[in-house]
Amino acid sequence: MAIAGRDFRELRLDDMSRNFGTVNALKGVTLTVRRGEFIALLGPSGCGKSTALNCLAGLLTLSSGSIWLDQTRIDRLKPEERGFGMVFQNYALFPHMSVRKNIAFGLSMQGRPKDEIERKVDEALAIVRLSEQGHKLPGQLSGGQQQRVAIARAIVIEPPLVLMDEPLSNLDAKLRLEMRAEIRRIHDLIGSATIYVTHDQEEALSLADRIVVMRAGEVRQVGTPEELYGRPAHADVAEFMGYRNQLRVTAARAGNQVMIRTGNVTLAGSAVEPFTEGEAVAAIRPEDLEVSANGPVEARTETSQYHGDYFYSSGRTADGAELYFRSDRRLTKGEIVRLAADPARVLVYAGGRP
């Protein structure tokens, strides 16, 4: 019998909140997760994503709100009663137990018969491709291998939900890319729901079915990777998703477009959220701002970095706004360029609030 996550219909987070003294680490998070979904909790440090994960695991109590697994309320249960698998950032492998014993731990806590445990451990080791390392101690393994043992340990108990707390942040870049693919492969194989905490938007974009962007304890946007990449709902989400150009502009409607002005430059953009005519923020991805002979924006180049098939450059407009843009040749320092962007890719948000 292959390892497969326990069946359930939905996991519901209902206005989940957690305070530490006067600090509101989580302010009313509401979310529904279905079996088989890969959800990424994405945000900068301190946004509450790890707090949310720890509340889900039962390692932190909720200050208010509730968590439901189908019809059962689970937020009052201790971690050992919830049956979720968890992969910790520092792996938390038991240093005094072999790899096999580490993986078998959850099963022996359930009191399963020995031969069943051995079978399942073999299977888990095969899934994470560590069949030869079973007898070793964690201290004898490399970082990537320890990671995989931690994953095996979490999935072998066939949980309905697997929680991962920035599991790749301690690995080097190359290993991180490899492990990313591994994690998704294993998720698809066993069919549990996975909730994955990360601060790396690239990781979230490539792994998740849906992404939950958080900031200062609140959920800012929930959506598919495409939605978050192409149409972030707020300026701060846009900035986090890589819209490095954040221009303070005055905006005015013109038909079904928005004309934005900064200094003596006027650009066409499209509105994403309601704004008061006047103060607004225009967000543009560097990839969408290109050197163009008759472009409306003029900038003086400051840096130009080689990125393979394009150059990633930065410059300043006449009134000092910093811009990041693309070019297909190396620009010299001080060179004046004209830039343009497709109005559909110039996203206008309400100004003021960060």
């Binding site: 050992e80 968890m86 910790f88 492998l93 038991f94």
Partner: protein
């Protein structure tokens, strides 16, 4: 000089450089005064005492040792000391574990640790004297016992008094040490165990205890060595001519009452040997347990 000799001299780096490569220079020499001091006033007296123990006032090489092991007044001290040291060590170390487990999550831990450092600082002489009053027949402790109906208990000038003083001066040591080992265990290990279904008792037996084992072994070694050397409490608070005649008393008497320094050294050597034997035993037992870092991996 011939050409060959010149090149040879040039190839060999000067002595100072060679020494520097092995990390020996003026700074390294700073360790010499202290090291010399310890050699002269610790190693040498030990060696001197060892040799002296084989040069008795009368008789051959082993006369002191033979005298010790043939005179019950002398060799019984070993048993008397073990009778005190072993229970005291076991109580102090084993009780420190549940207490440390409770205290480690306390928020105002420092208040408690400060209070516990007081008996260590005051020393065994003061504690012995204090207990003489407090546990005496007119002392508060017996009065309290009478109040709750138990009646008077003989707590001074006997085995019990010395045992109680060993606990009072020893427990803070073992507790603080256990606490520091306990807080050195990565908390995410217990969290991981909990997510895998381990209840509190299972977490203790499968995770905490194995990782604590090596610290407990060291704790026992240090605690035993200290309790085995009990001296002022055994004299002031115990029955130094009877049930609490410990081996340090025998050494003291040989040196300062009989002026037989050779015998005194022999007793000191026997004492050191007993301590060493028990320490070796404990450490041998430790080798069956896990002996590594108590953290859960990289990061």
């Amino acid at each position: 000089m011939t050409d060959a000799a010149l090149t040879k001299a040039a190839e060999r780096p000067p002595l100072r450089v060679r020494l520097k490569l092995r990390d020996i220079d003026g700074v390294t020499l700073l360790v010499v005064p202290a090291a010399l001091f310890v050699l002269l006033l610790f190693i040498y007296p030990f060696a001197y005492g060892f040799v002296l123990s084989f040069k008795p006032k009368t008789g051959d090489l082993f006369a002191n040792y033979r005298k010790f092991f043939s005179d019950p007044f002398l060799y019984d001290t070993i048993l008397a000391t073990f009778r005190l040291a072993i229970p005291a060590t076991l109580i102090n170390v084993l009780v420190s574990v549940p207490v440390a487990l409770r205290v480690r999550r306390m928020r105002h831990r420092r208040v408690l640790t400060t209070l516990l450092v007081v008996p260590i600082t005051l020393g065994t002489v003061l504690i012995a004297q204090g207990l003489l009053i407090y546990l005496g027949p007119q002392g508060w402790f017996n009065r309290a016992l009478t109040l709750i109906g138990i009646g008077q208990v003989r707590l001074v000038h006997n085995y019990t008094g010395v045992m109680l003083s060993l606990i009072m001066s020893g427990f803070p040591f073992t507790f603080l040490l256990t606490l520091s080992y306990l807080t050195g265990i990565d908390p995410s290990l217990e969290q991981a165990a909990a997510t895998l279904g381990a209840r509190a008792r299972a977490r203790f037996f499968h995770i905490v205890l194995p990782l604590l084992a090596q610290g407990l072994a060291i704790n026992m070694c240090l605690s035993f060595v200290q309790t085995f050397s009990v001296f002022p409490s055994a004299v002031l608070l115990g029955a130094p001519a009877g049930e609490t005649r410990v081996i340090s008393i025998a050494a003291y008497q040989a040196a300062y009452e009989q002026y037989d320094y050779s015998m005194a050294s022999a007793v000191a050597m026997i004492m050191g040997f007993c301590q060493l034997a028990v320490v070796m035993l404990i450490l041998a037992g430790r080798s069956f347990a896990y002996r590594g870092a108590a953290a859960g991996g990289k990061g």
